[in-house]
Symmetry: C2
Subunit: 245 residues, 2 copies
């Protein structure tokens, strides 16, 4: 197959330029209008679904490699990217390329660093990689079967994203510049997959100290106009470092 | 030097048995009687201080390698060990063995997975590794200079341990089987390095739902006997998976 030839050609380039045994996988969550999706690729050669990922160049920092992969797939730069776990079990990916020559780059044992990002999926342009014919957003309630251990990596990312909601802020780049508390609550509810008590949400979100109340409420609408808020960029960045006791 | 010869001999064994480019470093916090310490090694060849670490055998899961390293240094088994970050910058360790032959195992670029553990330091036996003449607990307020990027790894581990106090339980294996809320609060205060409000602490710790109140208060002492608590092992394990909104 033509796609097999491509993998074998790429393999040679990888051995020359990349750090063996190390890979990275990105769980890119996309949010827009109260929908949460995840970015997936379909491999040309096997027609299996995978998370976008890549390798680390010999002269490249690991963190830069993750940003490069994210940029290559989405065009998005300066996106908050969080390393959330290392996947280092035996046989997590080695068997996937069974039918290929033994010296194929992809047949080695890889220990993979997982990164997650959260973007507004209408604000980025997704692009397949060189092995894939499809790169698309899948609704998280209706994912196709993922190959290798990518379901585990995805499950971990979602669990950690949900945990981190309780002690790290979220919402920058995902909400309009000015938003209501109710819009912010919907973002949290979409990520958590369940509804939250309005009063509890208000108290907990205010504890972060990252919101700036705007002078003028939103205009129009039949009900009492709700107050608008924006993020305080400095306090938001500080809070990303983690809230403690 | 004899210790140099040992490193060169070990290097050959590493190339045969371990996965290149991958290492792991363990930040082992020791707690006892309201003191927090960290386990350090002093290398024989360079007399520099390092965190205990190791490599991954070709046929070994990454997580098992971390447990093996912890067991080799402390004799402790079944200790809660948390992967907390990957350290993958260029030149984080490569320069450390400058004066050695280029094919030395330790001179390659390593991407290192960081694990932390928290043990009762009076309950374990520390043992130096094959390159070190000293393995000892250092008080966290008075650490020696650490080589490579091990200060960064340590700083990250402490920051993450402190963050995780707010959403994961802590204390099993560190406190007596039955303890007072005040003893548990002291553990938190020692790790955080500052005092906490008693009422706030009580409310937050009760939210975890991991404590079982004992029928009989502690006997003896001049004051009103405080209630004793123990951990509910099942709820403790569940809560380790993370508390959310």
């Amino acid at each position: 197959m033509e796609s097999d030839q491509k993998i074998i050609r790429q393999s040679k380039w990888m051995w020359e330029n990349c750090l063996p045994h190390i890979s990275l996988d990105c769980v890119v969550f996309g949010f827009h209008d109260n929908q949460l999706k995840v970015l997936l690729l379909k491999m040309e050669a096997t027609q299996k679904w995978l998370l976008p990922g890549g390798f680390v160049l010999k002269n490249e920092h690991l963190q830069d490699a993750a940003h490069r992969v994210l940029f290559e797939r989405t065009g998005a730069e300066r996106i908050y990217l969080q390393e959330f776990g290392v996947f280092g079990s035996l046989n997590r990916s080695e068997g996937f390329f069974e039918s290929y020559p033994d010296d194929l780059w992809y047949k080695q044992r890889f220990i993979s660093a997982g990164f997650y990002a959260l973007v507004d999926y209408t604000a980025v342009n997704v692009t397949p990689d060189e092995y894939s014919d499809t790169c698309q957003w899948s609704n998280i309630d209706d994912l196709p079967e993922l190959a290798m251990d990518h379901q585990l990596i995805y499950d971990n990312a979602l669990a950690i994203l949900r945990q981190q909601l309780s002690h790290k802020p979220i919402g920058l780049n995902l909400l309009p510049e000015r938003f209501t508390i109710s819009e912010l609550q919907k973002l949290y509810e979409t990520i958590l997959g369940r509804s939250l008590n309005r009063g509890n949400f208000y108290r907990r979100i205010m504890r972060f100290g990252i919101l700036v109340k705007q002078e003028d409420p939103r205009k129009g609408g039949a009900h009492k106009a709700p107050y608008l808020y924006s993020f305080d960029p400095l306090k938001y960045q500080e809070s990303l470092q983690g809230l403690d006791w």
